[in-house]
Amino acid sequence: MTHGESDVRNLVYASCLALDREDYSSYLNLFTEDLNYRVVTYSPELKTEMTWLEHDNSEMKHLIKMLPQHVKMKGKFFRHVTVYDATQHADAWEALSYLTLSYTDLDGNTKLLAVGAYEDVIKTERNELKIDSRTVRLETRVLGPGIHVPL
């Protein structure tokens, strides 16, 4: 089955919708077994890129499995994403998307929590498009109290 640019866009959007719904089973199904998930940002204080989270598929599953046992921000996260570029290579797609993450607390107050970009490498696994690598490149460096869920 041949996949086109619209399928790549839909995959990126599906990853956001699954996270927003806290449908972690569907979210994990969007990744290859070889997943590399990273959250990075540049530190002007240290003049270097920092890695704030780096997980493979197994580590991501553990992170999600343990979420119910953690004390975390209560409320809802909304991810607004626009896929600006999707480029096809011989064995993969590369997609660049801009991310805006908002947080609405239990009283209904909404604030902008973070902005950044998804840099995705997307591959075909068993005839399905899957995210093989996602780098969340944050512009925001103060993430509220800190966040337990994937961005």
Partner: protein, 411 residues
Amino acid sequence: MSKNARDWNTPPDVPEGHYVDARIYTDQEVFDEEQEQLLRRSWKLACHISEIPERGDFRTVDHAGYPLIVIRGQDGNIRTFINSCSHRSSMIVEEPSGNAKHLTCPFHLWSFDSEGNCVHITRPEGYEDVSICKENRGLREVKTEEILGLVFVNLDDDGMPLAEYVGDALETFSEILGTKELEVFHYHRVVMDANWKQWHETNMELYHEWGHVVNRTTSVAVEGYHDRPWKLYPNGHGTLEPLAVQYKNYPGWQNRASKMLPGLTEGEFRVVDIFPNTTLIARSTSLRIDTSTPIAPGKTLVEYRGLGIKGESHEDRVMRQKHHNQFWGPLGRNVPEDVLFVEKVERTNRHGAARYGLLARREGGKSQDDGVVRAFYQEWKKYVGREPENISVRSTTSSGMGANKRAEVSN
């Protein structure tokens, strides 16, 4: 049995020093006195030397309401200046870090060298009649000293030397910090809706480890956890006897059995709290340093640094970052929870719904004994001159080491 208002507002029936008046976290006058009498008179971590390795490298930081520039001079020495032009008080540098031979104010282009000397006044002839010249317009220098790579500043020109202030409190970190060259690889900030002291209480009272699933499983559940004594030092510092943490108890994590930082064994946890607001925590392979900057009674900036061994392999650094981030990154499993804990406390303190906070755990000075927090407030009292149990009462036993010096300081 629940309490009525009178009972709720009655001080708890525990020994002196075993509780605090909740207004200690919310009162603006107390906050202002802390800034003036405590924070501007004690040593505060500014940065690690690896953040300014080259001549001309600088970092800007805030401390007790003052913007500061920490700079390594052309002579190799580290100095700190208030980041304020001696002309019209404009901030000179905005960037969090950089390198400069001269610091030039963008407002009227006055320039200063890395020793704080004014080296350029634009169109100086306009000052000839009023005795203003480069020679008398230097920057305000702030006392700066280094210990084990940690750069501390003290706004009090007459403050005791850093080595005397710290004493032996860093004894359990001297090998970690002093054996191999370290560098900061992680830096992040949190601006929390909480009082600065609340943050440091979480670094000292380990009873709250029950609230973290990672701490419950990897530490509190470990044999010997409750047997470790705190060691208290002069000037309000404290350390806790180490523990071999079992990281594998948390699903998906492994024990930390290799690439330990110097002097640490498998899984080893160490902590030192340097009064008033700097904490170092080592977890075998990773090291965190945090320090706070109070912004308002209910708002605090906390800076977190993670350190590794300079020049280590990419593979080792990736491992060390992972271990650091598991607990302490902004997406970690521990630090965000601490922030949420203290914000929940601030929410009830804010308008007086809560009147007292208990610091009454007594476990023979062991891990979850509140003795180290009680010692913190005894030291706090010396500077601020108020009773922590009732901030309306001026302390009669304190040395008033802050208040007595108030008039002496010229900033």
